[in-house]
Symmetry: C2
Subunit: 451 residues, 2 copies
């Protein structure tokens, strides 16, 4: 379990006196993931010593991979190339590739050349697959056997090669050309009579992903079919790797964060402790886009300056019409972005889903508009301003919901990420249309209002 703060203090003291071997012995009694938290409290010099201690007890890799990716980048920057290479050299290839990818572009080749040659070759091969593809997160160290082997032979093979294998949840069965033919779970293998051939045990035509497919698709397949690992094939069926569930959990976390961030207009590299100036730079482009849409809304208000001049109270109710429209749009947007991410839309018609949101928005708009109109009438004693508020809110909340549902689908059709900046776009629509509808109606009603 996690280290107490007294333990943390004791370890810091030991580090400062240079007793790294003793630190290693203390930490060996804890899970490496618990040692990871130490890095965030230490000075650069202390964290280099801590890394040495973990390297001696071979815990460095396990500890570091428990850190959030963004913090890990900072820690890795402090460690010297050769020590980093020692740590990475002990990791399985997919994880080594992940560590390597966290280093600066300039540093990657330097560390790569210091790795053991067989691993360096494997990594060179894996580095060809684009970031975010199944190929980039797969492990090439899986067990694949011909279909005629028996369960007993397969277990013997496992026992012999087990140390070098990474993903042994499933044994894959291949034909003479290396094409993926079937899969046998470790559990089935143990339960089977030793002389049973694999082709009798295997499930044929297993689901797979292509090496270039999005990692998100591998995660969706694992989730849908309840798999612990998804085989990765190339050139129409040759088995080249396996993506395992621990990596897929990371993918699921990442994709959820990405969707979340993109709706709000935040760059995926951000996190709570990212450097301030990097965050400012990342967010500024979204702020500029938002500024553009805000000026759009402002110029619509400017069209109605003479109306506002005659009836300044309209300025009081403008934010209500715009705000509630934005609220309705954001609600529909959220349900739609999440529905796309979870694959719910594969189970029914897209048009029906958009239509539903429009009807929901219209009904909410009618209800909220009615409440607001009555309050406005009571407050200001003029029913016609209330009528303008009611109609504008009805229209704006219905349109907001429609925009919230349709914008992610439009973005997807245009081959953008469906969540990308969608929050900014939806409020742009509801602000501009809200002002147009409300001030436009009020202008029409001016003679009735008696202003």
């Amino acid at each position: 379990m996690a280290l107490s703060s007294a333990q943390t203090q004791a370890i810091r003291k030991l580090l400062r006196t240079g007793a790294t071997a003793r630190v290693g012995r203390v930490l060996a009694r804890h899970h490496p993931a618990d040692a990871a938290a130490l890095f965030t409290d230490l000075t650069p010099a202390e964290s280099r010593l801590l890394f040495d201690a973990l390297l001696e007890t071979k815990q460095a890799g396990d500890a570091l991979r428990a850190l959030p990716e963004t913090l890990l980048r900072d820690v890795l920057e402090r460690i010297a190339d050769d020590k980093l290479a020692t740590m990475i050299g002990r990791r399985p290839p997919d994880e080594a590739l992940w560590f390597l990818g966290l280093l600066s572009e300039a540093r990657q080749p330097t560390v790569l050349t210091r790795l053991p040659a067989p691993l360096a070759d494997e990594l060179q091969r894996l580095r060809r697959y684009p970031e975010g593809s199944a190929g980039a997160i797969m492990t090439p160290r899986f067990l694949a056997l011909p279909r005629e082997r028996t369960a007993g032979e397969a277990i013997a093979e496992l026992q012999q090669r087990g140390e070098t294998l990474e993903a042994i949840f499933y044994l894959y069965v291949v034909d003479a050309d290396g094409l993926l033919a079937g899969v046998v779970s470790l559990r089935q293998l143990i339960l089977a009579p030793p002389d049973r051939p694999l082709y009798e045990l295997m499930v044929g035509e297993p689901v797979r992903v292509d090496v270039g497919e999005d990692q998100e698709r591998a995660a969706a397949i694992a989730s849908r079919y309840n798999l612990l690992a998804v085989p990765v094939t190339e050139n129409g069926g040759r088995l080249v790797g396996v993506v395992t569930v621990d990596d897929l959990i990371d993918v699921i976390h990442e994709e959820a964060t990405e969707d979340f961030y993109k709706v709000a207009g935040v760059d995926e590299g951000e996190h709570v402790f990212a450097p301030v100036l990097r965050s400012v730079r990342n967010r500024f482009s979204w702020v500029l886009i938002n500024l553009l849409t805000a000026f759009g809304a402002a110029s619509i208000v400017a069209l109605f300056e003479s109306t506002l001049d005659r009836l300044v109270v309209l300025a009081v109710f403008m934010p209500i019409v715009a705000g509630l429209g934005g609220n309705s749009g954001t609600q529909s947007l959220t349900v739609m972005v999440r529905g796309l991410a979870l694959g719910e839309l594969e189970f029914g018609s897209t048009i029906r889903a958009v239509g539903r949101q429009f009807v929901i928005g219209a009904l909410l708009g009618a209800a909220a508009g009615l409440v607001t109109a009555l309050l406005v009438w009571l407050w200001r004693g003029n029913p016609w301003i209330g009528v303008a508020v009611f109609l504008a809110m009805l229209a704006n909340m219905a349109l907001g919901a429609l925009a919230g549902a349709a914008i992610p689908l439009l973005l997807r059709a245009l081959r953008f990420d469906p969540a990308l900046g969608s929050g900014v776009l939806v409020t742009a629509v509801t602000d501009s249309f809200g002002f147009l509808a409300f001030l436009g109606l009020a202008t029409l009603f001016l003679p009735l209002i008696g202003a």
Copy 2:
């Protein structure tokens, strides 16, 4: 792989002619998850026939569990109690409990009494654990052996009891009192010499969750320590169940959806195809809260009616100040809610994280405010309106970022969900304060503006 639309049509035709056995044979050649998608296109009568076909080939449970939970509820409602009981009776206990939980409260006891007695008893026991707890999603069918057994004996035990076990990624080692003492992975077990005792193979003091702890914590532990299953203990260490990674993936998806929904003020029961009126009811309470905060903002504008009356152009720029503040707040909010969910805040000081957002917001506010002030000056030819815009945007974007970062933390300190309605609260702050700052400053500057 998924069924083609020609196959789907053929199956519908077969269903309508009552050839369920043949449908069963066709579907047996596909993964059950692919048959699940059929349910969404069928009439209630057709889907009952499809269920019969799947029940005959024992694929019904695997097919149904691939459906999104919300769609599944509708399908389950169409199936008769006894057929449902046959299907549920074949599932492992944690999954049976999950299916049961999707039925209406009234229907649960009826179906429960039709299940085989041993399963019904197990379910009664599991039903005591509250929804969302580790106990409610654990399986009670795990393998635990005393520490003196050998690897060979453990494998023999696995082979004998394997069919009834659900989670055999790990073998758990218990002491004489049933207290959890260690864990051996299936992989280690296969690789070990058969006469090696478990206490030499096991990793001691394994991480675990208490039966009453939040399922989210089990998911966080599996993710942090890269585990395929997390043991669940009761009364200080007695092993009572195991939560497996496939269930934890569902938990991760659910929790991400929940956070997403709560920020926007959407109820967790919603989805793209939920009944319209249910969605309207769910969202309406959030709309009312939003209406309340919008009236708050409106009454701040009302305080400045005489200022607006003298200088109606201020109404044009109000939405820019409020909108950009909301944007800044939402960006910080998103980073903070996600940081809390991913545990990033455990790796550093909370105050520092909030301070960072404030500084980011102030810098973005200064930049965006400057751009806007210059444009306003160019557009309207009056520098003092520009100065008011600049100062108000600087203050509002800084305050928005502060509120976005602090509100989730405050909600958590008050023992609410940190995401709950946070989007609505943040824009309430930025709307009200934005109007106050901008119209207040403009009022002060009125003599300078010359209105």
